[in-house]
């Protein structure tokens, strides 16, 4: 009989293994590769100095807690976050004398005023390299995500942006922190997210489609809905 025992154990474990494999598809593996290469930027922008937390002991090491959207103004108004115009950098740095002579800031001003060797014309845009690059057929909408999570649900900006961009306030951005693969996006869209009416979204029965199940409005549990699940949301 032990042969049958062996056999049934084998079959059961085969079934379990295949079910598990099928079930675990969404767990997106993150490898070194999926984060893209390290990128050398024309100016190594110290995000931690601008957005980082204040360090009371070593103020020179800490940041200034500048809101992401102070510079990345387009993110809340457009699908594309864009890069802040050079004007924005200069606007502040014109009056910050203390770091005026540091190499990075000197470089910055070369783009504004033109370099002495004439290689950079005055007012030329800084050729930043793309780090968070999605394929051309993917259209991620920054505006909607920020409206939804920052403005309607009052999540901290750092958290909302950081979900995809990582803990920017501690770094200069040289590579991605998340894979940004489709599975990464879909994973999140499959989750139930809080839907709050206070933020101003009259969701109506939209939630039915996005959450595929009609929400019970008056139940004590908070109202949730899934993210949009139709392909045309991101691919057009």
């Amino acid at each position: 009989m032990h042969r049958f025992l062996r056999l049934s154990i084998l079959l059961i474990s085969l079934f379990a293994a295949s079910s598990f494999a099928a079930d675990a598809t969404q767990a997106v593996k993150m490898t070194e590769d999926s984060l893209g290469p390290l990128v050398e930027q024309p100016i190594e922008f110290p995000h931690f100095r601008h957005a980082g937390d204040v360090n009371k002991e070593h103020p020179e090491k800490g940041g200034m807690q500048i809101d992401c959207m102070y510079c990345h103004t387009f993110a809340r108004r457009s699908a594309v976050a864009g890069i802040p115009p050079l004007q924005k950098c200069i606007g502040c740095h014109q009056s910050i004398e203390s770091v005026r002579e540091t190499p990075r800031i000197k470089k910055l001003f070369e783009y504004w005023e033109g370099s002495k060797d004439g290689k950079i014309a005055a007012k030329s845009p800084i050729p930043w390299k793309k780090v968070h690059d999605l394929p051309d057929f993917v259209r991620f909408n920054h505006e909607r995500h920020i409206k939804r999570f920052v403005f309607q649900q009052n999540r901290p900006v750092q958290e909302a942006c950081g979900y995809c961009h990582g803990d920017v306030k501690t770094m200069t951005v040289a590579r991605r922190s998340k894979t940004l693969s489709m599975g990464f996006c879909v994973d999140c869209h499959k989750k139930d997210h809080l839907v709050s009416a206070e933020g101003g979204t009259a969701i109506g029965n939209q939630a039915y489609w996005y959450g595929f199940k009609k929400p019970v409005v008056n139940a004590s549990a908070p109202l949730t809905a899934k993210g949009p699940n139709d392909c045309w949301q991101c691919h057009k």
Binding site: L14, F15, S18, S19, A22, K190, W209, F212, N229
Partner: protein
């Protein structure tokens, strides 16, 4: 007591049959006809096997298990995959529609059945196997052979039976 293997080759199936019958009939000390005797033949030869006594075959249980597993796995894999697209219907059909899933379940049923049957075959037939201690290429040609394992003591008696039935050749190998 040390054991030895002995292989007898026969040209004739009737002879081999007679040997098996006799071996099973005779009670030789140090030799168990049920477990120590293997008949090797070039063709599938149910008549010879009959004389070896009822030996059950379990492959069909593998088949059943495999087919069921395949079918279940198929249905749940497919339905589960379809449930991923919870906001997209196709052609006005339900998200988990039965007719196509049945077709695929059917295919998976067969696939599971076939695969696991083969697996079962290999397990039950003990394949892949090492060569048994004594083997003659003649078996794959036209001769039937009987391989026995016995105590040294029984060897003589067995050999006598083989010779009696016109064994073409008897190979021996000393046991450990």
């Amino acid at each position: 007591m040390s054991q030895r293997h002995m292989l007898a080759l026969f040209n004739n199936f009737e002879e081999a049959e007679a040997v098996v019958r006799e071996l099973r009939g005779a009670s030789i000390k140090g030799f168990n006809a049920d477990s120590d005797m293997v008949v090797k033949s070039p063709i599938e030869h149910p008549e010879v096997e009959e004389f070896l006594g009822e030996k059950p075959v379990y492959v069909q249980w593998f088949t059943l298990g495999g087919a069921l597993m395949g079918g279940l796995l198929g249905f749940f894999l497919i339905s589960g995959a379809q449930a991923n697209f919870f906001a997209q219907v196709k052609g006005g059909k339900p998200i988990v529609p039965f007719p196509p899933n049945f077709v695929l379940t059917y295919e998976m049923f067969i696939l599971g059945g076939v695969f696991v049957s083969i697996l079962g075959f290999l397990i039950c037939a003990g394949l892949p196997a090492k060569r048994s201690p004594l083997y003659s290429a003649k078996v794959s040609e036209d001769q039937i052979s009987i391989l026995v394992k016995s105590d040294d003591s029984a060897a003589g008696e067995l050999k006598a039976i083989f010779t009696k039935h016109q064994a073409v050749e008897i190979q021996e190998e000393a046991g450990k």
